[in-house]
Amino acid sequence: MAANMALPADNKETWNGGGIKPFGASYGKMMMWFFILSDALTFSGFLAAYGLTRFKFIDSWPIADEVFTHVPFIHGEFPMIYVAIMTFILIFSSVTMVLAVDAGHQMNKKKVTWYMFATIIGGIIFVGSQAWEWKTFIKGSYGAVKTTDGKILQFTKDGKQIALADFVTGERTDGVVQQTKKNGLWFEEGKAVPTYSVAQVINAYNANPDIQIRSELIDFSQKKKVILSREKGAEVLAKAKMVVEGADLKANEYGNTIFADFFFFITGFHGFHVLSGIVINIIIFFNVILGTYERRGHYEMVEKVGLYWHFVDLVWVFVFTFFYLV
């Protein structure tokens, strides 16, 4: 590595640690590595906390394949496909980044420019995909009922989950309307009112003998959620407290509340890293165009942001495994 590190042409040594290079690494690169190390430990802390919580609720944790099943523009259930595409996008943008670094070693300004550009585009596509993933997660697709003891009850027909809209009929009849700025206090907006009331759902359940309730409990011999009998279902449904559609930080239709909290927090924190990576890449991209590094005599800055960008990819590899696969 030492070979490609020319001395700073502008003689400003302050940000270069006075030109001293322990382990043959420049000040900036070394500090980038130690920042990455600390950031890696932060992410490990989050994923370890996720692991603890999952072990704590090991017999009732949501099954990822049943939660993340959507692909844009296509109807139907395709577990894993969409996150796999996102993973490819990020790995590919990592490749263009490393190609930019490689072109930088050859002092090829034009190539560095184009590869940086491709990397930025890849990053933007990834963040956009993540936004879509969040939108789908928040909106939900089936709806469920939450009981007074905090359990989520989903509805199934012939062993497959069905949406509330598939068997609950009619409009809300209990007269509850959403509080908006127009009909309430002008500075307050109420929480969105679910499409159906609890009483409606219970009536529809009683009226449709082929509907069964799926509990959160996992049957370990099958690794599937336990589907309750009609009688048992009516019994647990009597404790229904609210209808849940989609997800927020307080309730979600997929299962345990803290599952959605971890989803928002960990993928959100990662998405924020990608976003800041894009911003930093754009800054470096313009510096490349302006010829800053050409004049400096080396493209080490591209290498340093490259390290950060690869790290973001590295974290996603782990998030992908522990959120979607395991």
Partner: protein
């Protein structure tokens, strides 16, 4: 590698990209079909989960060594990063997962399904 910093490593980069892609495809394939013999049994967690974790570590190695060019750094600089992370993460994860298991053993009997 370090000695040839000016040489182009483009070919190697594409090979690593190919390997990372194949690993991802294998993961996704196994995640979709979930072979029963791997999915429902195994030590601690299922065999399938062990496969996923090992493949993930293989990908992490590929990214860190080739893309982040750790292979070209001085040995002890590399170790100051990798060993620190690996030691602390293993330590944290071990303790925290044992604790999670304990919480399950303690709390699960209190939940009525």
């Amino acid at each position: 590698m370090a000695a040839h910093a000016h040489e182009s490593n483009t070919k190697r980069i594409w090979i690593v990209f190919g390997i990372l892609s194949i690993i991802t495809l294998v993961e996704v394939y196994l995640g979709i079909i979930k072979p029963e013999s791997l999915h429902l049994e195994g030590p601690g967690t299922s065999w399938l989960n062990w496969i996923f974790i090992i493949l993930t570590l293989a990908k992490a190695y590929g990214i860190a060594w080739v893309f982040m060019h750790l292979e070209g750094e001085k040995k002890w600089f590399r170790r100051s990063i990798v060993w620190t992370a690996v030691f602390l993460i293993i330590y944290l994860v071990t303790l925290v997962l044992i604790e999670g298991d304990y919480l399950y053993d303690t709390l699960a009997p209190l939940i009525k399904w």
